[in-house]
Chain length 82, copies 2
């Protein structure tokens, strides 16, 4: 499953579920995504669960999706390769 | 706001929202909660956002709340003091 555009609380967002083998690997990906967010000064919602992380990007200021969110989504995908 | 009992996907769960000053502090709390979970072998859902972390405990096996979830909730609260 790739990125989906969803609507939550009347705001369009980009969401993807990333699967992992256990909790520690999921939490590690959460931290990588968090570091990426801090670097960009743009912060997603990151749901960490046993074996999966759900990342949701949207632009708070415009209450919707901006080109930057798609860039951040692509950069999140890149984290899987490290 | 303290712990609330909520029902999500027909499963009763314990949920609390913890507030922080920024993303880094929120992510730090996520990691502390993750370490607690790994130690206990019992894993919550942890939603990390800018300035807040939402922790949700429930028992997967019984699809509901067990005494252990209330203990984990109390231990999560203790993390704020460290």
């Amino acid at each position: 499953p790739d990125w989906e555009i969803i609507e939550q609380d009347a705001v369009r967002r980009l969401r993807r579920v990333f699967k992992f083998g256990n909790f520690a690997e999921a939490l590690d990906f959460t931290n990588k995504t968090g570091a990426l967010a801090e670097e960009a000064g743009h912060h997603p919602a990151i749901l960490t669960e046993y074996g999966q992380v759900t990342v949701t990007w949207w632009s708070h200021k415009i209450k919707g999706l901006h080109k930057n969110d798609f860039i951040m989504a692509a950069k999140t995908d890149q984290l899987l390769k490290h």
